[in-house]
């Protein structure tokens, strides 16, 4: 039969099912196909902390949302246009997010009395009119899958496992996705078990053919490729980009990397990834706890490696004394915090930005640490490289604040030219830098570089530069233990000045205020940091689309803050600070600049929705334009 073809500029699909239904894999594959097709995209995996919560229940629902478009997009989208629900629980957990008119594809096979009850339905939603405002496609995905793969002699259970590939095939047909990458992927993944491989490929093809032949699906959609800057692209998650950025930092600095770490969601994938790159001279040490992980990294830095430690908030809490040691000993160290919901164990698989103040201030004593944050999955690469640059150049621990949303989310990433990456100079000390009385050469470990205030990095094995460092206060220059009051005051201010001096090395902060050049700039500035870049950007665009004037600034560096920031803030009547916390950057801006920053705060473990934020920005813009015409 001939199908109608409809053009769309963007679509949001959410695959939802039981934790064991393979929804993450399905979403991943659809994403790869869309990337290969050339759409811009953004993804949002959302899964429970339990590996296998009780089957068929609401807590066991796992989902993957992908937003793809023929233009540049910034977020995985707020509300799905299409929901694929593999069981009643998946439907119930997600239906509330759907806009009127959305399409729902359900696997009717799983809508049994028992499963309905597990999801809390007394009447099947497929039989009453509760889904009346949606276009519901009732498809026996499991039944058709089992029938299609019969020839491979799998058990019924194994056969029905391929239903996610049937669903993927159907969706791939609906949106005209190329199928080669997925078939190649399945061949490789299940190479060792031919029956499973063939069943999955067959289910995938059958799903596609079902879409093409059935009358139930009358429309095929077309979303053209998005124009993108020339270059070679790949789809990348934040954790992968961050790990690559660290490897790149090792290459551009010539330093062997040493990761000391302890597994924790959502940071473990950084350990998994780096442990594959031993050929780059990367050592990964899975320690007995977070304190040992950072301790070993500090030891490695002392002897000339670049120490790295990766964790999430609870791990940072354990590492804080050691970070203080790295501040005092002034050794290079990259501390990665992939933030998750807190406090305590909190929400391990959900996202939050609530460790900002911990990063800035969560140590005893005056212990300044540079803090930087990536703004998108791909940006994790650049942020990691920047962390390495600062750590090595200024001999300091650097806090790199990613989060669960960036870590697991993905987007197309333009692969940088390695030759364009800036070199980082470890500038090891090799000769004495001082003379004792009588002219004997000597080495002073705390004699600083005049410009960066960095101390010399002399590593064991270098003759004549033997020295001792430690956590006790250092005497200026010679670095021996000093309890002198004036010296302590001087060292406290010098450590602070060294971190502040990093601001001299930063590019000017960009303000996105399109009408400012015409002398008709915005009165409202929206400022954020980290992973809210996408939702803020999308919210700002929406407001501008309907004629609102609004400026946007996004911070990569939160300590030190860019030098121009104070002046920029002073130009606007209202400053809005959207964050996935209770107002941590807002508190900082108020304290630093005495500005009346307003918060837009959400702490529900989920990314901010662009539409909700746009409404808040729009309201603020309208009221500001009224009161400050």
């Amino acid at each position: 039969m001939t199908k109608q073809i409809k053009q769309l500029d963007r679509v949001i699909i959410r695959f939802a099912g039981d934790s064991g239904d393979g929804m993450q894999l399905t979403g991943d594959r659809f994403t790869s196909q869309s990337a290969a097709f050339g759409n811009d995209l953004a993804t949002f995996p959302n899964f429970p902390a339990e590996i296998r919560a009780p089957q068929g229940t609401l807590p066991g629902v796992s989902s993957f949302q992908v937003h793809f478009a023929d233009h540049d997009i910034l977020t995985p989208g707020d509300r799905p246009d299409v929901l694929v629900a593999m069981n009643p629980a998946a439907l119930r957990a997600n239906v509330g997010d759907l806009p009127r008119g959305a399409q729902i594809i359900v696997d009717t096979h799983d809508f049994t009395k028992r499963n309905l009850a597990k999801a809390g339905y007394t009447v099947s939603p497929l039989e009453d009119d509760s889904l009346a405002e949606f276009a519901v496609h009732r498809v026996d995905l499991t039944g058709m899958t089992v029938e299609a793969v019969q020839e491979f002699g799998l058990s019924r259970k194994d056969a029905s496992r391929a239903k996610n590939m049937f669903a993927l095939g159907l969706l791939s047909w609906m949106y005209g996705r190329p199928t080669e990458t997925t078939e190649a992927f399945l061949s490789k993944r299940f190479a060792k078990v031919p029956a499973i491989r063939d069943a999955n490929i067959t289910a995938f093809r059958t799903g596609w053919n079902f879409g093409e032949t059935t009358e139930a699906f009358a429309v095929q959609y077309e979303i053209k490729p998005a124009p993108m800057a020339p270059g070679t692209y790949r789809n990348i998650t934040g954790n992968l980009a961050l790990a690559y950025g660290l490897v790149a930092g090792g290459v551009t600095s010539g330093l062997p990397l040493f990761l000391g770490t302890y597994p924790i969601t959502p940071a473990s994938d950084i350990l998994h990834e780096l442990s594959k790159h031993k050929a780059f001279g990367v050592t990964t040490f899975q320690a007995e706890d977070e304190i040992s992980g950072i301790g070993a990294a500090i030891g490695a830095s002392f002897v000339g490696n670049l120490g790295i430690t990766s964790t999430s908030g609870p791990g940072i809490a354990l590492k804080s004394e050691s970070i203080g040691l790295a501040v005092m000993t002034e050794l290079p160290l990259v501390v990665v915090n992939v933030q998750r919901g807190g406090p305590s164990t909190g929400l391990p698989t959900k996202t939050e930005q609530s460790d900002l103040l911990q990063a800035l201030f969560g140590r005893n004593g005056e212990a300044p640490v540079p803090v930087i944050a990536p703004s998108s999955p791909g940006d994790c690469f650049d942020a990691a490289l920047e962390a390495v640059r600062i750590a090595v150049t200024y001999r300091t621990p650097v806090m790199l604040l990613s989060d669960g949303y960036l870590a697991n989310g993905s987007e197309p990433w333009r692969i940088p030219e390695v030759a364009d990456l800036p070199a980082i100079d470890p500038a090891f000390a090799t000769t004495p830098n001082h003379e004792v009385e009588g002219g004997e050469p000597d080495f002073w470990p705390y004699l600083r570089d005049a410009e960066t205030l960095a101390r010399p990095w002399a590593v064991p094995g270098t003759p004549g530069l033997e020295h001792r460092i430690g956590g006790l206060e250092k005497g200026d220059g010679h670095g021996n233990i000093s309890y002198d009051p004036a010296n302590h005051e001087f060292m406290v201010s010098t450590r602070a000045a060294k971190i502040a001096a990093i601001a001299d090395s930063l590019p000017p902060l960009e303000v996105d205020d399109p009408t400012a050049a015409d002398g008709d700039g915005a009165k409202v500035l929206v400022i954020g940091w980290g992973s809210t870049y996408g939702p803020i950007g999308a919210g700002v665009r929406r407001v501008r689309r309907v004629g609102g004037k609004v400026a946007q600034v996004h911070l990569r560096h939160i300590n030190p803050l860019p030098k121009e920031l104070g002046e920029i803030l002073s130009r606007y009547d209202k400053i809005l600070v959207p964050e996935m916390n209770s107002g941590q950057l807002r508190m900082l801006l108020r304290a630093e600049f005495l500005v009346d920053a307003i918060g837009y705060n959400q702490v529900n473990g989920m990314p901010i929705k662009a539409a909700d934020l746009a409404e808040a920005i729009g309201d603020l813009v309208a009221s500001t334009e009224r009161s400050h015409p």
């Binding site: 690559y244 070993a296 830095s301």
Partner: protein, 371 residues
């Protein structure tokens, strides 16, 4: 205050290991002196502190290793004893409480050309740092740990420690401690440490011999040093230093029957260690068949007998304690194996062009090109 005195402990033997703990550390052919290893910092322990004797012994011992001084690293935690690195003119880090074994693990793994020592106290190693200690021991990271056991918290002015005897009255336990103490040697053997020894601050010769064996051992060497704190726990080791010490010290020598106490005419001690119901016990030497006296085997792959011997240490006032090398066995080290994996991964990969390899890495996966 007890005066440092030489016991006449028989010297432990340094059993040859296939590869030395300092195998990859560059050597120095010129004779070195203790003075070269002495830093310009004023030593600030209390007068009479056992730490002085250990420092002197180490400053004299290090030159005998014949290593390049710049390739020696001392790492310590926090405590009186942990000030140690400041007094040695090597590379050093005085770190934070309990974490020295973790830091040393990073150092030893990152660089095979360094000789790594850890200096720690009974509180540092066994309270706050207990976790790091046992994991370093089980991993067998190539380092030598000097555990200064004064059975008290010195630096914080005299609270009881995890090695203080039950009932000990201190500032924090006015009615006596109700904590059961650790025996550091038993703990280390339980963690399957490959080198475990005990020695005494005041016995320079024995201490030096143990240090030599410990440094030569490839893997983690744990050396418990009984150290007197004349200020807060004076006399804790008097039983093994005083006139009756022969009755208290059970010397361990690999390959020798274990006897101690007043000498018999045949040169054996009047008390013997014999096997007993899976463990060991003390018996009058003359009451047992000479063939039944336990012959010390530090190289026994099974740590059970060494553990049983370690249990002869009495947990209260030290009326009886084995001294010497309990265990010295070969097992692949964590750091050697970690480095070997790096080498394997690099095998055949040219080091010449990391940029090209980086480009291949980040450009891998499913890619597409926009023109």
């Amino acid at each position: 205050m007890s005066t440092p005195a030489h016991t006449d402990l028989p010297m432990p033997q340094d059993l040859p290991m296939p590869q030395s703990g300092t195998a990859f550390v560059p050597t120095n052919d010129e004779a070195q002196t203790a003075k070269e290893y002495t830093s310009d910092q004023e030593v600030r322990w209390c007068p009479g502190c056992g730490d002085y004797a250990v420092l002197k012994a180490v400053q004299s011992f290090l030159p005998t290793l014949g290593l390049r001084r710049e390739n020696i690293v001392f790492v310590s935690g926090i405590g009186c004893s942990s000030r140690f690195p400041y007094y040695l003119d090597t590379y050093g880090m005085h770190s934070i409480h309990g974490r020295a074994p973790a830091i040393a693990t990073g150092i030893a793994t990152a660089r095979e050309d360094l000789s790594v020592f850890v200096v720690t106290g009974d509180g540092d190693a066994l309270s706050i740092g207990g976790n790091h200690l046992i994991h370093a021991l089980r991993r067998n990271v190539n380092m030598t740990i000097l555990l200064f056991n004064n059975r008290i918290y010195g630096l914080t002015k005299g609270q009881y420690s995890p090695t203080s005897e039950t009932g000990k009255v201190t500032k924090s336990t006015p009615m006596g401690s109700v904590d059961h103490p650790f025996n550091p040697v038993s703990l280390a053997l339980g963690a399957e440490a490959t080198f475990v020894a005990r020695t005494i601050d005041s016995d320079r010769k024995h201490l030096t011999a143990v240090l030599e064996a410990a440094a030569a051992h490839r893997g983690t060497s744990l050396v418990e040093i009984y150290q007197n704190c004349p200020i807060f726990n004076d006399g804790a080791f008097d039983a093994i230093k005083g006139p009756d010490k022969a009755d208290a010290v059970i010397p361990l020598i690999h390959g020798e029957p274990i006897t101690y106490g007043a000498l018999l005419e045949d040169g054996r001690g009047s008390k013997a260690v014999v096997r007993d119901n899976g463990g060991v016990r003390i018996a009058p030497t003359l009451d047992v068949d000479p063939g039944d006296v336990l012959v010390h085997d530090a190289q026994d792959p099974d740590p059970s007998t060494a553990f049983a011997i370690s249990r002869l240490t009495d947990a209260g006032y030290l009326n009886q304690t084995p001294i010497g090398i309990f265990r010295q066995v070969e097992r692949a080290t964590y750091d050697d194996q970690a480095r070997a994996q790096l080498a394997t991964a690099r095998g055949g990969v040219s080091d010449a062009d990391p940029q090209a390899r980086l480009a291949a890495l980040i450009g891998g996966g499913d890619t597409w090109t926009v023109i």
